[in-house]
């Protein structure tokens, strides 16, 4: 666990002024770590890190290479690419969870980090939801409808499944946009590899 309960954001950015600005904007709400290049970024990275802001064009390891190593380590953190040019759809195919194009404004940065944290929340809700659905299905597959009608456990499960379904549709507004959709699916495939 990290020292504070705040979500941890790692900024990997080779321009010190830019990195400092991001830190100033974020440090009230998040624990911020900084790295000046890809190698330092990978050193600072551990299971506590929730979101990585990764500059794409850096001396040494490029953002793409850093991303690849992050995914290899299976840490489950979300990675936003920071880029000077407006990228196209291929960014999602490459495995980034979001992108920010420079210059970045404070609200934009907050929005992106919050959205990425919401996605992690969505993933864990979905996992919890599945666990309940599976329990419910096991009861349905092994008990008669008369037995189910009398089972308090089944009643309670059914209620919790319905509640959880509502919680899920409120997180991320369900799945509102393409990058939420693709990144969530990528998370599912990653689980599969474990």
């Amino acid at each position: 666990m990290s020292d504070s309960d705040l979500p941890v954001v790692l900024i990997v950015e080779d321009e010190p002024d830019v990195a400092e600005t991001y830190k100033l904007w974020l440090q009230q709400e998040y624990e911020v770590r900084m790295a000046q290049n890809g190698d330092e970024g990978l050193e600072q990275l551990d299971a506590d890190v929730d979101v990585v802001l990764l500059d794409r064009m850096m001396p040494g390891l490029s953002g793409d290479e850093v991303l690849e190593r992050i995914r290899e380590r299976d840490l489950g953190c979300r990675v936003a690419m920071v880029t000077a040019v407006e990228p196209d759809f291929d960014i999602l195919e490459m495995g980034f969870d979001a992108y920010l194009s420079k210059p970045i404004r404070s609200e934009q940065l907050h929005e992106t980090v919050d959205n990425l944290l919401d996605r992690s929340e969505y993933d864990s809700l979905l996992q919890e939801y599945y666990a309940l659905v599976e329990k419910q299905a096991t009861l349905e597959a092994t008990k008669s409808s008369a037995e189910l009608a009398e089972s308090d456990q089944y009643d309670e499960l059914t209620e919790r499944v319905a509640e959880m379904r509502d919680d899920l549709s409120e997180t991320l507004g369900g799945i509102e946009d393409d990058s939420d959709f693709i990144a969530t699916l990528r998370g599912l495939s990653d689980d599969d590899d474990n």
Binding site: F89, L92, E93, L126, Y129, Y130, V133, E134, Q136, A137, T138, E140, A141, V161, L168, S169, G173, G174, I175, E176, D177, D178, F181, I182, T184, L185, R186, L188, S189, D191, D192
Partner: protein, 227 residues
Amino acid sequence: MTTTERQTMYDLTSVLEFDALSEVRPGSSILISGPAMSGKERLAHDILADGLRKGDGAVVVTTGDGAGSVVEEFRSLVPDLDDSQLGVIDCRGEGGTNEDAIGNAHVHHVSSPGDLTGIGIGITKALEGLHNAGNEQGRLALVSLSTMLTYTDKKTVFKFCHVLSSRLDSAGYIGVFTIDSGAHDDQTLQVIKQAFDGMVDVRDAEGGGREARVLGLAGEPTDWQQI
């Protein structure tokens, strides 16, 4: 659910004559379940063809037929088909498609039915293509979940269905997904069902032909009825 209010309901009764299917809410996902060879795929395609005739877009996620033959089939089901109203995500992971047959359809190839990210990207591109071609509403068919279940576990397929249903909900689409009820154990079927708003059960009728019933979309389950 705030995105779908101004959109019109989907009427599926010209394909399946059930009152419960006369006003299907945009964003609904329906599981079509039945034994092998009971016409589930045909039913899913008929629902999409019906939509195409009414001006809805159509997206087919296929694990069995190639993109070329899907496009050909819809051309024969809907003689005045405008290809640009059709999207196909071909998940067989094979080349050798007859590219001539594809015309202006939005076609995307995915390496395998287990490549969920690839399928998602294909769906996103198809939805975008249909939107650019002027479609505000549409219908998506995934044929079949049973094949996906041979590539990945039920937990992943369940989550995939849930996430895709949410995406269809924000797009105002409806989705139909087929599953071979004889190919999976009861618990798996119960789990998968839970990812859907409703279900159409299909079976062979005793005196020949087929019958169906509708569960979970409006009111109590319907009776079995010849289709």
